[in-house]
Symmetry: C2
Subunit: 395 residues, 2 copies
């Protein structure tokens, strides 16, 4: 009988979001109709902005005409979108359209990127962080995994280890802690990667939420980053595209890795991988992504981001007033809340769920160093923030 | 310096479609404006049918409203689509909605499915066939690859080998040869897989083109297939979705593989993998896929399929009249044409391109046993079939 990939047996955690869904389903059978307030999964709470919805509708109807029919898209995405991204976000940084790869989500690319590297590479992963990095690393068969603890004592930031490693996952503004690395810290990481000829996978999903002036809007603002980093960006959180699936990966041509005594272009390898394994992203989705870059759409989207950030601020202030120790929420829609009275993540999660009908995420779901915290998301509406605070106050 | 996945060095072929694009680009610089006729890549030539375009436009505009906003879709797809597929295509076969996984393309799933299995598994792959199976197998690090030659002497069908293997790629109606396996041959494969406890990856992208009564519309029509097969279906060719990206994978709950002395459900593993590595398919795309199942859309789509099949028939008959040896084109949009006078695939391809301004695909691009053939695609319009035949006649 064919054998399974035994790495599945090394995945100790049930995927956190599935576990939470089960708990909620169980609760739904028991509780009063008092509606649940969901401050958990980082999903949008506001509709697609009008300029983008209209552009996508036009694109779909265009596909219904002979002159506008569209078949396979290029596996790296339409040039119109890659050019627009290069010209809007990356003109000063001199990223060219052919260094941009369109994809259906950061999750897809930031896990598939492992395909390019040796199975013996040492992978450094922050803890707590987005669970897919570790799961994908384990499933890929890699066993040399270095944990980067993100603790109160280091303001929840990962710092370069004293030993060498090959591949480094970084997420800033961070999910789940909501903190963002400033220019100095990112430069420390870039210098570490250059020294050890390692590659940084920089998850920049929450770039649109950056407020602080010393937090870069791209890792490529740091000198040398083009020789050691791949940046993963998305329209999911920046333009409310979670239900539409469009992201882009910046893989500079200067980036190299070793094969025997040669240096190989990772850009070429990724092109080759994508040509064999991807058929690109739907045309109307790419037209929608293009529309997000229009000035009118940018102003509609900015209003949404600002409203999420205003809620993050209100929620954080309210929680602090209730005596809770809170982090993040400035350059991020997430607030990282220390559990009161030394409770475990799940104890506080259960209390919030059962007594307040409030869904958070237990910090331990993002890694063992997330124990003793829960994550609140500001992807909600102001009335729900008020109600959530009132209910927590009654605890 | 971090090392690359050395399997990339084992990929001998440049991806065939990239090579062809380069040849055409070179030619474009030299030739007269006589327009090229593209009978190569299997892409659609007709626009999205009206019922589907309108449904998708409605879905996009719905996402622009508060009551209709949609965030992340379930990683296995919306229940509305899985139920509709189960009820239309698979009711008799008793495939349940939770055995159906929605994805952005067969290519994605039929290559990612390898993640579930041991790296030491023996993979059987037809030759010639769709190149992604072999490329993905090589990139995954697997080295035990068994070739199943599809030759004139066996009507271009793969037959079970005498030795055992673990994983088997089958594509029927086949790309590129255009031939379809009948019930008896599929039953032979199912029995082989059951005997050796192997798993068949059944690529059914071209199911909508099946005309012959003895060719099954699902591998699950064969008794025992639910214990040994995964079927990969798509809206790409059946509903003109190549530019929209939607497919579905049927992974029966009865399917098991080994881990030490236990039997493990592959259905559970695939769920786990998809939860960690996929964020699902865009909502408007899934609504579009749902609309393809409506009676009105089915009649619009059937007319398109029939027109492609009529062109396949006309092209095949024309080529035969010109003295060429042709196969396929009955249950498939593809015609597999033997090169005249013992020419190589690339020689005949170049001749067709340079003298007839006609793009085909060299058979050898699909595997070494494709040498001496080219593939013609009927994804075109009747006027182009006529013109292509006239030009070949002048060779």
């Amino acid at each position: 009988m064919v054998a399974i990939n035994s790495c599945f047996q090394r995945l100790k955690r049930t995927y956190i979001f599935s576990l939470i869904e089960e708990k909620i389903a169980t609760l739904h059978k028991k509780i009063s109709p008092d509606p649940l307030i969901n401050l958990s999964i980082g999903d949008i709470a506001l509709p697609l902005v009008p300029t983008v919805a209209q552009a996508m509708s036009r694109a779909v109807l265009e596909m219904g005409t002979f002159s506008g029919l569209k078949g396979y898209s290029p596996s790296n995405g339409y040039l119109f979108l890659r050019e627009a991204i290069a010209n809007t976000h990356f003109a000063i940084l001199q990223i060219t359209p052919d260094e941009i790869f369109i994809s259906d989500g950061i999750n897809t690319d930031i896990t598939n990127i492992l395909d390019l590297f040796s199975l013996s590479s040492i992978v450094a992963i922050p803890d707590p962080t987005y669970p897919a990095y570790l799961d994908a690393t384990i499933l890929s068969g890699r066993t040399k995994i270095m944990t980067l603890p993100c603790l109160e004592t280091n303001q929840f930031h990962p710092y370069p280890p004293s030993e060498a490693c090959d591949l480094i996952y970084l997420c800033s503004p961070n999910n789940p802690t909501g903190v963002a690395m400033n220019r100095d810290l990112l430069a420390t990481w870039v210098n570490y990667a250059l020294k050890h000829k390692a590659v940084i996978f920089f998850d920049h999903a929450y770039e649109a939420f950056i407020n602080s002036v010393d937090v870069p809007h791209s890792i490529f603002e740091i000198p040398g980053a083009k020789e050691c980093a791949i940046e993963f960006c998305s329209f999911s959180k920046s333009a409310g595209f979670t239900g539409l699936r469009c992201s882009y990966t910046i893989l500079p041509k200067a980036l190299k890795a070793r094969y025997e005594d040669q240096e190989i272009s990772l850009h070429t390898l990724w092109h080759r991988r994508q040509a064999a394994k991807s058929n690109g992203v739907a045309y109307p989705i790419q037209k929608g992504a293009l529309a997000t870059l229009l000035p009118q759409a940018q102003s509609e989207i900015k209003a949404q981001i600002n409203s999420y950030l205003a809620q993050a601020k209100a929620l954080k202030q309210g929680l602090i007033q209730l005596g809770l120790d809170c982090h993040g929420g400035i350059d991020s829609p997430y607030i990282w809340v220390k559990t009161p009275k030394g409770k475990s993540s799940w104890e506080f999660f259960d209390e919030l769920l059962i007594k307040c009908h409030l869904i958070s995420i237990p910090g331990v779901g993002f890694g063992k160093y997330g124990e003793g915290f829960v994550r609140f998301s500001a992807f909600t509406t102001p009335d729900k923030v008020d109600l959530a605070l009132k209910r927590i106050n009654q605890l």
